[in-house]
């Protein structure tokens, strides 16, 4: 089997906190190929950002502890690399865009210099070369008047523009993998659309692998090729977009899809999932979703969590009834 661009297998991350050990990520697996977009989808606290930070090697430890799993970049294990080597990986091979561009950018350094820094540190470019490379990349993310705005500071840009700057900084070194952690959540819908289009375009140009983290099922529908659904730190379901939307094999995904309000239909009541996501200190035994699941059975309540099982090629679900759910919805 050829190596994937990125292969995350059974990743586990714990946090030591006063209330005990929080198993924030507890069995996350996915693969990413060149030029592919995978969406990691999950509600707040499901462990999306922690997963991303673990891959980037930027978790603070303590309190974080990576307790298992592997992250391989083109077949090479990067989890647990010494910090010096990890720094080589970060930025030039894997880069990450954060949700809140304002706080991720340094407020007292001009945006141009911040981007140029990437070229100077990683590529050892001269001041002049870095400047012109920076202006190029600013143009690529369509900052109007890139030359003039080189010396502007982050607060002088709107939210959408700041996110573009952030993207410019992250694609500067042509990383092979780009992780975007809720890149548009803080933005208005019309600007959201601009940013998503930009990301898609850049990806088509550079063939990088894109990991798109979001809690919004709608945003990823036409952007991602594959989706990985997380719940309470676990990958619940994974597969091609169309499969997930039309032939889900997991009751959580099913509930989530039903409960999002859709602009094209009006329902008298939204089919809500009952209850709340669990606390990480008391993740239910068995299947983590069982207290909220309409299909719950004794098997779900006790014993081990169900494994990720394939229901179709490249489509896996963590549910004892995966086959059944898959079959039931297959008529859509």
């Amino acid at each position: 089997m050829a190596d994937h661009l990125l292969d995350v297998a059974d990743l586990k991350v714990e946090f030591d906190t006063r209330d005990g050990v929080a198993r924030a990520v507890n069995g996350v697996s996915f693969t990413l190929d060149e030029g592919e977009t995978i969406a990691i989808l999950g509600e707040s606290g499901s462990g999306k950002s922690v997963t991303a930070q673990a891959i980037m090697g930027i978790l603070d430890s303590p309190p974080a502890r990576i307790t298992g799993g592997s992250v391989r970049l083109r077949g090479r294990e990067i989890l647990g690399l010494p910090e010096k080597e990890y720094q080589q990986v970060r930025g030039s091979q894997i880069a990450m865009i954060f949700q809140d561009a304002l706080s991720a950018l340094n407020p007292v350094i001009s945006v141009g210099d911040q981007i140029a820094e990437m070229f100077r540190v990683h590529r050892g470019m001269s001041r002049k070369a870095a400047r012109s490379a920076t202006i190029d990349v600013m143009k690529r993310v369509r900052i109007p008047g890139a030359e003039e705005r080189y010396g502007s500071y982050p607060h002088q840009f709107s939210g959408g523009m700041r996110q573009r700057i952030m993207i410019a900084m992250m694609i500067a070194l042509k990383p092979q993998v780009l992780i975007a952690d809720e890149p548009t959540t803080a933005l208005d819908v019309t600007v959201q659309a601009q940013i998503m289009d930009l990301l898609q375009e850049l990806q088509a140009e550079t063939r990088m692998g894109l990991i798109l983290i979001t809690h919004d099922l709608g945003v990823v529908a036409d952007v991602a090729e594959r989706i990985s659904v997380m719940y309470a730190g676990r990958t619940m379901e994974q597969g091609p977009v169309a499969e997930i939307y039309h032939h889900t094999a997991n009751p959580y995904t099913e509930g989530l899809l039903a409960s999002i309000p859709k602009i094209d239909e009006r329902e008298t009541r939204l089919p809500a999932i009952k209850g709340l996501p669990p606390s990480l200190f008391a993740v239910p035994k068995g299947c983590a979703f069982h207290p909220r699941c309409p299909r719950v059975s004794d098997q779900c309540r006790s014993g081990a969590a169900p494994p990720l099982t394939e229901v179709a090629p490249d489509h896996a679900s963590r549910c004892w009834f995966a086959e059944e759910v898959y079959g039931n919805v297959a008529d859509a």
Binding site: A272, K274, A282
Partner: protein
């Protein structure tokens, strides 16, 4: 309706923190802090000195009228009779130090309490009403903050003839409230912008109610911490002022006057200085440590 009812059962957060309150959280942290326990132990000792000095030393040993001090014992070194030596008047330095605690600590506590009350009140008004009220108060605060601390107190105490601890308390409060006011003002402005204040206003709550129920409780925290810390500093300031002859005057005495009196005899009898200075330092330290521990416990961002 049915599924709302259903939610009642499942909506109970299953996780641990059964019934935690903010103060409960703070207490949880405090209990685990050795700084807190050291300062608490020291403060218990200070409290006993202030309230029941008789438990630690007989009052007679501090006065010549009762025969406790005899010039014959002047500057006697530590011995079985004078555990920590005697001063120029032949009084027991240990007993003097115990009885000297009361005025020192009272000055500190009173000045800290008054500073906090006045500062919080003025800061609350400035922050809440904003506009002209705020800019006027803020300018006054700026002026006060420009006055050098001890120098200001000296000038003030020389101008108004109010001897004893009251003059010292007055001077310290007058010079310190602006710091507290500024701190509270900032926090008030922060709390005023919060949605819960907006919610209270939309319920029709009066300004008074909003200030007392919603804003003050969320704005007072840091200034209480500062008060605890400055309490120690006030005790030190009282010593300074008394040393300069502007605070407590004979026959009353405090740690400050003791230190002042000791200066002539320091080389002959260092204990006359070191003992009250040691008491003073430990007390100030205890309050500062307490302030530190409390501020850490009250700030959720500092929690592990």
């Amino acid at each position: 309706m049915s599924d709302i009812q259903l939610d009642v059962e499942t909506s109970v957060r299953p996780d641990g923190p059964a019934s935690r309150t903010l103060l409960g959280d703070a207490w949880y942290d405090l209990r685990r802090s050795w700084i807190f326990w050291i300062s608490a132990a020291l403060l218990v000792f200070v409290l006993v000195m202030v309230v029941f000095p008789g438990l630690l030393a007989p009052q007679e040993s501090t006065s010549s009228l009762t025969g406790g001090c005899q010039l014959a014992n002047s500057l006697a070194p530590p011995s079985s009779q004078f555990k920590l030596g005697a001063d120029q008047q032949g009084c027991d330095v240990y007993a003097l130090s115990i009885y000297g605690a009361r005025p020192s600590v009272i000055v500190g506590v009173l000045a800290a309490v008054l500073t906090t009350i006045i500062g919080a009140g003025i800061g609350l008004i400035a922050g809440f009403f904003g506009g002209k009220v705020d800019s006027t108060i803020s300018r006054i605060i700026d002026i006060f903050l420009g006055v050098p601390y001890i120098l200001g107190a000296i000038v003030l105490l020389s101008a108004v003839d109010l001897p004893g601890i009251w003059g010292v308390v007055l001077a310290l409060t007058l010079l310190s409230w602006p710091t507290a006011a500024r701190l509270v003002r900032g926090k008030v402005i922060e709390a005023k912008g919060q949605d819960y204040t907006l919610a209270a206003r939309s319920l029709g709550a009066s300004n008074g109610r909003i200030m007392v129920r919603h804003i003050l409780p969320n704005a007072i925290g840091p200034s209480i911490v500062v008060a605890v810390i400055s309490l120690g500093l006030f005790i030190g300031a009282e010593a300074t002022l008394s040393y300069l002859g502007l605070g407590i005057r004979p026959p009353d005495f405090s740690w400050g006057t003791m230190i002042a009196d000791a200066q002539n005899a320091f080389f002959q009898a260092p204990w006359t200085l070191l003992v009250p200075a040691g008491f003073l330092t430990l007390t100030v330290l205890a309050f500062i440590l307490l302030g530190e521990a409390v501020s850490e416990a009250l700030d959720p961002k500092l929690r592990k």
